[in-house]
């Protein structure tokens, strides 16, 4: 008979060890899954988790995919720490891309070093504006931010569709629902020639560093931690919950919007209806995998990027369905959350007997 006992303090060892446990368990579950699908499991796991690390091109692709994931996840982690759930980052990403992209298209004939910064600003503001809706409705009307932010994802994707079918459509594009390709001045410079790795990666690194300092050194980082771990203490200390709701939604929305613009002005290079590919949802997994810590999120973002690229490779090499990647990502989050039990509880063997049996047992 096993029994869970609350640890006096969460185990730090387990806190950092369990993400690795979860990754290994996901690989093992992957082996079972592929065997069930009648594919060579060893080859599939190799293709998804290791093959992308063996060539320069796929390493650069890793950076391309990790950039939006890290940017979004860092923002989300702030709210998650405080028990404020923005799960509509996908929508903020989409609106950010649309707003920044609209600036790029409006300045289509303009060359200048300030074009890109203006786009980034518009993208960030777009994401913030979209995140302001659930924040406002939560603070003013007590509406559940999880549901509102999620509903707005569907609306945002439809707005992007509306824009590329209408006002932002390429005038020479034969009515195809796409914008023009962004001008050189509106495209992110490349980090490594011959690849798609762009300077957006540096932005993501800077955001990781800034957030780390913020959480360690600034009052708002402390308030967020307290609100998440001890809501009563936070209210006694006079920390304002509405203020933290606004703060975390503005930061996460702004970063998601920026990530959207970076995606549009980087690897994609234009606005297309299929721009949102689920980074906003995958970033939720990244945030948890990284233990809501900026550095952990950086590693988590790289790992999830690996599953995207490896997943694509496996799709082509072994004719696996594209959904395999999302199954893997879902399993990863499950194993991670399940292994959290080791962080907060000791597992004890107890003898069955009236003296130590929990009440629910005695009832039977």
């Amino acid at each position: 008979m096993l029994r869970l006992e609350t640890r006096k303090e969460p185990s730090r060892l387990m806190l950092y060890a369990t993400p690795f446990v979860a990754v290994v368990l996901t690989m093992l579950a992957g082996v079972v899954l592929f065997a069930a699908l009648g594919k060579d499991p060893a080859k599939a796991v190799w293709l998804i988790f290791f093959e992308p690390l063996t060539s320069l091109y796929s390493l650069s692709e890793l950076i391309v995919k990790a950039t939006p994931l890290v940017l979004i996840a860092v923002g989300l982690s702030l709210g998650f720490r405080a028990g404020i759930w923005n799960i509509g980052a996908e929508g903020q990403f989409t609106i950010g891309a649309a707003a920044g992209g609209a600036v790029a298209l409006a300045l289509y004939d303009v060359q200048g070093v300030w074009v890109l910064p203006a786009m980034c600003l518009a993208g960030t503001l777009g994401g913030m504006a979209w995140a302001a809706i659930p924040a406002f409705l939560r603070v003013r009307f007590n509406a559940n931010e999880i549901l509102v932010s999620l509903m707005l994802v569907y609306v945002a994707v439809l707005i992007l569709g509306l824009l590329v079918h209408g006002p932002l459509r390429d005038p020479e594009g034969h009515n195809f629902p796409e914008s023009r390709l962004f001008h050189d001045a509106a495209t992110l410079p490349l980090l490594i020639e011959g690849t798609r790795a762009h300077v957006g990666a540096l932005v993501a690194l800077a955001v990781v560093a800034i957030t780390w300092v913020l959480l360690q050194r600034h009052m708002i980082g402390f308030q967020i931690k307290v609100l998440g771990q001890a809501p009563h203490a936070a209210s006694f200390a006079g920390f304002s919950r509405p203020r933290l709701v606004w703060f975390s939604f503005m930061v996460s929305g702004g970063l998601a919007g920026l990530a959207g613009l970076i995606e549009a002005a980087g690897p994609v290079g234009q606005l297309v209806p299929a721009l949102p590919v689920g980074y906003g949802f995958t970033a939720i997994i990244v945030a948890f995998l990284g233990r809501l810590h900026p550095l952990g999120i950086l590693l988590g973002g790289l790992l999830l990027a690996l599953t995207y690229i490896g997943g694509e490779g496996a799709q082509i090499a072994m004719s696996l369905p594209s959904a395999t990647t999302s199954v893997f990502q879902g399993m990863l989050l499950f194993f991670l959350l399940a292994s959290d039990v080791l962080v907060n509880y000791n597992i004890r063997r107890v003898a069955r007997g009236p003296a130590v049996a929990p009440v629910s047992e005695a009832e039977e």
């Binding site: 869970l4 809706i133 549901l147 629910s360």
Partner: protein, 306 residues
């Protein structure tokens, strides 16, 4: 007259999957658990029902498969949150992400196939009444089942001892535990029931509403069902009413172009989502009553030693 009847029938078909999913989630939340994985359970139910019907040719087996698949997904959630005490919000999101992925994987070979029309019941004599007969006495069996479900759940919570225990656990799990009720067991059973309902709702989409399998075909209906539970203030009949209001909005969206209203299709498609947000705002606006109506232990992890 025929147009009106057809519109009403459309509303019923659009509302029924939401009724199943929302009533199921209502039972779960009454027991004090927040399962955000409704979307994932619905989509897995949709593909399970569809594939089982294609393989066996039997709608009954298809529906049973959907119920079992939805409950199995919920079982995974119960394992996470009741046995391993994982965070409910995060586990629910994981269930949705995982469900969408596994359903897409499962459905690879089924896109483009069709199960054919789902049989409708036809009550002799009454079903032949002009207008009214079509409206009341000639639906598929699941429509009647959805009404029976709402009635049954309402009866369960107001008239049975087990219903009272579930409510007590949802309001204060520590007190219920102290009296001696097995909190995790009751919650697991409620979760399995909720999953079965969500799976059934999903199957209604893939077998009745559009007898086809399309990836991501739930399109947020699981989330709308979650909002409906809030709208309903955790009362079964109000959840049913809410589902029918959403059915109206969906049909309004489909028919408005037929009426010659010239609006961009994307704007119309936004309607159900925007309406959900408006409804949430209206219901949650009054903080005190909204908090009183929600089960007090909703979303909190229960551990006997704490």
């Amino acid at each position: 007259m025929d147009l009106v009847v057809n519109i009403m029938l459309g509303i019923i078909v659009a509302a029924t999957p939401l009724v199943f999913a929302a009533i199921g989630e209502l039972v779960v939340e009454k027991s004090g658990v927040l399962n955000l994985g409704v979307e994932g359970m619905m989509i897995v139910g949709a593909i399970a029902g569809f594939s089982a019907t294609i393989e066996t040719g039997s709608f009954v087996i298809g529906i049973l498969a959907a119920i079992v698949a939805g409950a199995a997904m919920a079982g995974l959630f119960a394992l996470m949150t009741q046995a391993l005490l994982a965070n409910q919000v995060a586990s629910g999101l994981a269930l949705t992400l995982f469900g969408l992925g596994i359903a897409a994987l499962w459905g690879q070979d089924y896109s483009g196939k069709s199960t054919g029309d789902f049989p409708r019941l036809h009550v002799p004599l009454l079903g032949d009444l002009p207008g009214l007969g079509k409206l009341l006495f000639s639906h598929d069996a699941l429509v009647y089942a959805s009404f029976a479900l709402a009635a049954g759940v309402a009866w369960f919570f107001s008239r049975t001892r087990a219903g009272l225990i579930v409510r007590a656990i949802g309001e204060n799990h520590d007190a219920a535990h102290a009296i001696g009720y097995p909190v995790a067991l009751y919650r697991t059973l409620c979760l399995l029931f909720g999953g079965a309902c969500a799976g059934l709702g999903g199957a209604y989409l893939s077998l009745v509403q559009t007898p086809l399998w399309v990836e991501n075909m739930t399109a947020g209906r699981g989330w709308i069902a979650l909002a409906l539970v809030v709208f309903a203030a955790w009362k079964p009949w109000r959840a049913m009413l809410g589902a029918y209001l959403f059915g109206c909005i969906t049909i309004l969206q489909l028919h408005s172009q037929g009426f010659g209203v010239e609006i961009e299709p994307q704007l119309l498609a936004m309607l159900p989502y925007v309406a959900t947000i408006l409804v949430l705002v209206l219901i949650s606006r009054d903080k005190t009553t909204a908090n009183v109506k929600a089960p007090a232990s909703l979303g909190k992890t229960f551990h006997a030693s704490s």
